[in-house]
Symmetry: D2
Subunit: 333 residues, 4 copies
């Protein structure tokens, strides 16, 4: 019998896409989809392109928690209490919110708010499979990384592990779907079209998440991270400007670090030319290029992902695959 | 002393643009801008690109009605009562809503709602200068045409006056600014981007307005009118498929009708090739091309305008210019 | 042993996508890809997103014609001679060009040019599976329909078969990928962005193809067909304005005709609301809605497809599936 | 008698826009427009939106050089010889190419090619009015800055003059018009749409121009400069990440430097929120915001311009105004 999964909060962009991936997944049984204001709608009415003929239901724990696993697509702060309840009932959880990404409660509370379930922080695993594959297999609570940290960490891990990062500026460009389904002045077509501007300056909330994981890899740096909103729907490009701890003279070494790190990774692609987000649209892939510059001694690393896929939904399925001992690419390749 | 004007409802797209045009107008004095939820903001905070350093105020008739003229950028139904009040105080009004466009109260009430000020219908003038220039000069209440009717009537008037229209299908394509500043699912970037779809099918509210004015010109037809939403911000293209009352054999006649009709019009351009909306962006121009097809006996007329300019704001200034005996192009050429 | 297929002209948008679909197809073996100016490149260098690590080769019939089937993605006029050669060698052909779509040589020569292989017209089958599924199974030469005719015929077939079409205006909106990979003034980003305009007025070459097939279905009409170029890459929406032969009073009948016609079609979707092209992006689906208008007596039918998929590449695979007795959805669902 | 001007190379995006600005300029007489492949066309056929009913002519020095001033919109390398010829005839020149921007011949030849007219380097003035207003007034040969250097220098000048820049990373985002009118794979709509990627990595040719001018201002740094191509037509945003020479503790000081520097500049706007390129579209303005980050000790400066206006055409008119003693804003405000 295939493991059963429910998606909680399936009316948003990432929840709906997770539902689509699980609905067609060869090894999971999609059990139920919940939503608040859209309860009663069928998902294929809200999002015809996903073609999931399943009705969204109001949350009813007695019915919806009777599953092997849950994906939570709730806002920050709202996810943690539900995760706690589901864990009590033995449900394994992948949480798309930020609630369990930061290991230190104090850091969370500095950048977000009071933590609603700090007791669970110790058991949560940061769900970036390329870094923590083995821990994810055994985890019962996986914190799916933020979209920007996903790309940033894949872009920087080889250099961080080699102790080469002295300083880094990350300039991120993202499509509008990253801002979610809520209709706001910021997501209005006329605000975005023919426009580009920075937001979250100078302290976007994904900064401590990137710093935490870089530190784990050996690079204790204050990251300068600035996202920009672009007139496109899905896609995220990170331009990472790394000041090297060594003299940067040995340019070929850096490319080799990436080749070694990602030789066997099914979802990381190395390219010679700077990647475009179109190259990875609607895939679980991260496409990376590495460019040493002898003039400045810097290395520039570009990483492109689809923010809704590798940056959220398909990565949550990649995590589920690992947690249930399935082929890592099942349903997302 | 220059005539003074206030703009009521200046926080929306068309009201704000009208404010910008009047703020820089050589002959009018922009007196005040009102708004509801954005009162207290400066317009150049809401719309930096308009560069109007004027604070939006809550409506205060005692102060704001002490002007020579008013432009109303209120929603349908809300405009009429304000227009009535302003008329009582002797203010000349250009109304951007639909409230005074339809001469027959019953038609208005069939397509919209109960009319809030039917007593004013008799005195209102339909503000399409290319058709009603003389009446507008003497009018105290001008109903600024809808964006689609503006383009449709300029596209069809020469054929209508010649008695040549037996039937017409109007397929309209519009940018998102036409849907207004409200953030809704429909105006969300992700809904519009890489997409195109029809709306208001089969009965968009601009249909009776087009039919009324075509009838005035001599063409009593049931118009098939269907707008489509496109991934662009400003611009509107109408493709008008005319079945001719004559046999359509004399193709050169049709082009001549347009040449004659618009020879002296400062804001109508005739082109040989089908116009694009980029050709008229941020102008008060309507660009038209005429294409007879001997195979089908039809004439196809394309008309492109900027929905916020000739379709609303700059046309309201064109009307004000006429009403106050100013050069028709003042402030909008 | 799976049937082998080569794609001739695989460096263009449709050829490359066909290559991608066949490269991952569960039942075909992709044998070779040919190209002219890009010979020597790997397809995943030209189009990283397709992820086809196959090198494009210059045409060498001795090697490339030794296959069971060929997909031809050549320009009009150039496809026919190659098709003739391949047929002589016993290769079954799906041709993406217009060379074999028009049954009458004289019609082809009136709208295109002298026909390079008129002797093959008699054996070619028009490859719209929803109309000619059985003939396609036995065909050795299939003319893949044009993108506009594909959507137009699926939109109109139920009404045409019922003898209900007296007249029709088809207003089409298409993304830029339909113009092909050639870099021209028309495909320059700056020409298309924030723009929309008609082209091929008043006689686009897809008109006789639509008329031919409507006549086959029972509707002998002069079609008015006008395409418009939109700022999006993939996607095509057809708005079909049908003047009915009957009085149009029985609105429910029309919807029933569509429900009956498409009940078992795997790649036709009926919707209540007007479809958007985003609903079918990167699929082999055609999504249709039907809207009677009692005021005008017309029926409006909208049909959305992805011009590169159902309008070209994935439909060619659908045809190949039929020709080789495979499940019709293999590799494209 | 107003000074006369010809535009050489008026068929490209910047030349055509310069022609439009001069055609409507209150103080200059636009004498002639030249072009190569488009000679014989009227400019309003090529670019209806500019509404310049002037025919492009093949270069004929005897006729076209009989003017007071010339704007050159030729490619790099081709501009210098023409500039030399025009200078010999006493014509004052504003050159939009890179040929006279770099003071050191060796630097030009390292980044571009052999210099065609090195003898003129000594007399050319770098045409950024906000830095070199007085020198421009007396100049006979003005090198109009590159679009990226224009924004970069306005963003960094106040910090550079104060000796505060220790290091800087400049991440630039530009619309497609910056790539010019040539139809190439890179400017094809399908390449750009729904995409973003870096180019010119790691050594874009605007780098030495930025470094030269920063050094003039007192900041001798190796600049890391990386442009990215975005799906929009006009607009350029520079995100400048400055490592400060001091400890960065005195955040208020930095804002004050900008306020002081630009208090009287008609074309520089300071904003609190990060600017968007829409804020300055079709204007000669540069909009700047300054954001100190105490966490990292960096200052982030954003600068937005319209690459075709302040980044090229309208800045060339601003320079002409200065050269001829006219009001600096004439024809461009």
């Amino acid at each position: 019998m295939p493991p059963s999964v429910s998606v909680f909060g399936a009316a948003g962009f990432t929840g709906a896409l997770t539902a689509r991936l699980l609905y067609r997944h060869p090894e999971f049984e999609l059990r139920a989809l919940t939503a608040r204001s859209d309860a009663g709608c069928r998902l294929d009415e809200l999002f015809p392109r996903h073609r999931v003929p399943v009705t969204l239901e109001e949350l009813d724990l007695d019915r919806h928690a009777d599953v092997d696993a849950a994906v939570l697509a709730y806002p920050h702060g709202a996810a943690a209490p539900l995760a706690a309840t589901l864990r009590e009932r033995g449900v394994r959880v992948v949480d798309l919110s930020a609630d369990f990404r930061l290991r230190e409660r104090s850091v969370y509370e500095q950048w977000y708010r009071e933590h609603p379930a700090p007791e669970l922080l110790a058991e949560s695993v940061y769900g970036l499979p390329e870094l923590y594959r083995e821990r994810i297999r055994d985890a019962d609570l996986v914190a799916n990384p933020g979209c920007f940290p996903t790309a940033a960490l894949l872009a920087l891990a080889p250099l961080a592990r080699a102790g080469l990062i002295e300083d880094v500026v990350i300039d991120a460009k993202t499509g509008v779907s990253g801002a979610g389904r809520a209709a706001t002045e910021r997501t209005h077509f006329v605000s975005v079209d023919e426009n580009v501007s920075a937001y979250g300056v100078p302290r976007h909330r994904h900064t401590p998440e990137i710093e935490q994981e870089l530190a784990e890899l050996g690079a204790r740096v204050n990251v300068t991270f600035t996202p920009h909103l672009l007139p496109l729907d899905q896609g995220e490009l990170l331009s990472c400007y790394v000041t090297l701890a060594d003299d940067g003279a040995d340019a070929s070494r850096h490319s080799q670090l990436f080749a070694d790190a990602y030789a066997d990774e099914p979802f990381v692609e190395l390219a010679n030319a700077p990647p475009g987000v179109r190259d990875v649209r609607e895939t679980n892939l991260c496409r990376i290029s590495v460019h040493p510059d002898a003039r400045t001694g810097r290395v520039i690393v570009f990483a492109a992902i689809d923010n809704l896929w590798k940056g959220a939904a398909s990565q949550s399925v990649q995590n589920l695959n690992l947690m249930f001992g399935l082929p890592e690419s099942a349903g997302i390749a």
